[in-house]
């Protein structure tokens, strides 16, 4: 049974692939055929455009000239880089070169020194070598240079200091108030007894001729 939705979903593939089964599918539905033809016409138009829309020959001439110029620049740059790299390699030989140059002297040393020798000679050579080694070890122990002046190293030492502390204390001393007779309080009844008491102790008192009286009013020092 024909299904329009499924058929139209396959349109793109049918058009682009040029599938011959398309005709069979489209025979069953006129709407699908119209849709398919519209799609084919669109793609045919773009194909025709691809063929007709092309740059002129003069464009291609300048295009290839530009491409050649770019390639030559790139080629020259690559050659310069290659040349510089080769020069660097010439200036800096690798480890292989060092080992190759050392191979021949090493082989000569092995041939010279690793030969079979008689036992007494070997013992004697071993003893000589041992003595030389002992001297070699002891030699650095003897002071070869005169003793140098001891180096002065300044080490900061902390010295304990006695810190005196001054303590200030206010001591209040109990002062006995000396009672002075006041002229003002003479008239008061309690003053009579005071006078009487003082008369007992004022034997031999001789009053002065002048009386100096100062009256203080209120508590303010400015008021007299």
């Amino acid at each position: 049974m024909h299904n329009c939705k499924e058929t139209r979903e396959r349109f793109t593939e049918l058009v682009l692939d040029g599938d011959p089964r398309a005709e069979k599918l489209l025979d069953q539905c006129e709407e699908c055929r119209a849709e398919f033809e519209s799609l084919t016409a669109t793609l045919r138009m773009t194909t025709r455009l691809r063929e007709t829309v092309a740059p002129t020959e003069s464009y291609w001439t300048s295009y290839h000239a530009q491409l050649r110029s770019n390639l030559e620049q790139f080629h020259a740059k690559a050659q310069r880089l290659r040349h510089a790299k080769a020069q660097r390699e010439e200036l800096k030989p690798g480890l292989g070169f060092v080992f190759a140059s050392l191979r021949q002297p090493l082989r000569l040393c092995v041939k010279t020194f690793l030969r079979p020798v008689p036992v007494p000679l070997g013992v004697a050579l071993f003893a000589v070598g041992l003595v030389l080694a002992l001297f070699g070890i002891r030699a650095p122990q003897q002071p070869a240079t005169p003793p140098q002046a001891p180096a002065v190293v300044q080490v900061p030492v902390e010295v304990p200091t006695v810190q005196e502390k001054v303590v200030t204390q206010v001591v209040y001393r109990d002062r006995r108030r000396v009672s002075k007779p006041s002229k003002r309080v003479i008239n008061s009844p309690t003053a009579e007894s005071t006078i009487a008491r003082s008369q007992d102790t004022l034997s031999g008192f001789k009053p002065t001729d002048e009386v100096k009286l100062t009256v203080i009013k209120g508590g303010s020092p400015n008021e007299k």
């Binding site: 793109t12 058009v15 682009l16 519209s38 799609l39 669109t42 793609l43 138009m45 773009t46 194909t47 455009l49 691809r50 007709t52 829309v53 092309a54 740059p55 002129t56 003069s58 464009y59 291609w60 295009y63 290839h64 530009q66 491409l67 050649r68 770019n70 390639l71 030559e72 790139f74 080629h75």
Partner: protein
């Protein structure tokens, strides 16, 4: 009678740093690469720069060509990578605006693309403008999928393999591109802007 050299011979010569041989290869395939680039890029100058860049990259990578496929298949792979990288770089250059489409008078945009100003060529200009505008509404991946499928005849699997995506994604992109083209190129859906421009041209 001049016998043209095969691609393989030219590639061997080019691998030995023969620029002339590489230029001969470029002359053979430059139009196909340029066609793809002109449909991929909105502006003619961008298309020319991109196609030149493809050839430089191909020359740079030529020593790695091992004759396991045809030269054009190898070149097409380089083209796809260059297009995708161009998309990324232009994405960053434009600060994230992937679709910057604007209508520019065709005579200013591609002065040397068309031969003369005959009515047929003017019609082709408008058609080309419509096709490129329709393609510009797609994402770069969808646009490239359509171009490779329709103009290059690659299978969905080949495109998916080249673009590192699934075949379903490619199918969707191609279908979407065809839908856009149909909407643009069908006679009943011409836009007022296009009509005004065509009147000015005619």
């Amino acid at each position: 009678m001049i016998v043209s050299e095969s691609d393989s011979d030219l590639v061997r010569r080019a691998q030995a740093e023969d620029i002339d041989a590489f230029c001969l290869l470029a002359e053979r395939y430059a139009r196909r690469i340029h066609l793809l680039a002109s449909h991929y890029c909105r502006h003619a100058q961008d298309a020319e720069d991109l196609s030149q860049e493809v050839w430089l990259k191909a020359y740079q990578a030529l020593p790695s060509f091992r004759f396991e496929s045809s030269f054009y298949t190898w070149l097409r792979r380089i083209t796809i990578n260059a297009f995708l990288n161009h998309r990324r770089s232009s994405f960053f250059r434009r600060g994230g605006q992937t679709t910057a489409v604007q209508l520019v008078p065709i005579d200013m945009e591609a002065p040397e693309t068309f031969h003369s100003s005959s009515p047929e060529n003017i019609y082709n200009k408008l058609l080309f403008e419509n096709v490129v505008s329709a393609l510009a509404e797609l994402t770069p991946s969808q646009r490239l999928s359509f171009l490779l499928r329709h103009y290059e005849g690659m299978s969905y699997d080949e495109i998916a393999n080249a673009m590192n995506c699934s075949a379903g994604t490619v199918k969707k992109g191609v279908s979407r591109a065809i839908g856009k083209l149909r909407a643009r190129l069908s006679p009943e859906s011409e836009e007022p802007e296009t009509l005004e421009f065509s009147n000015a041209q005619l």
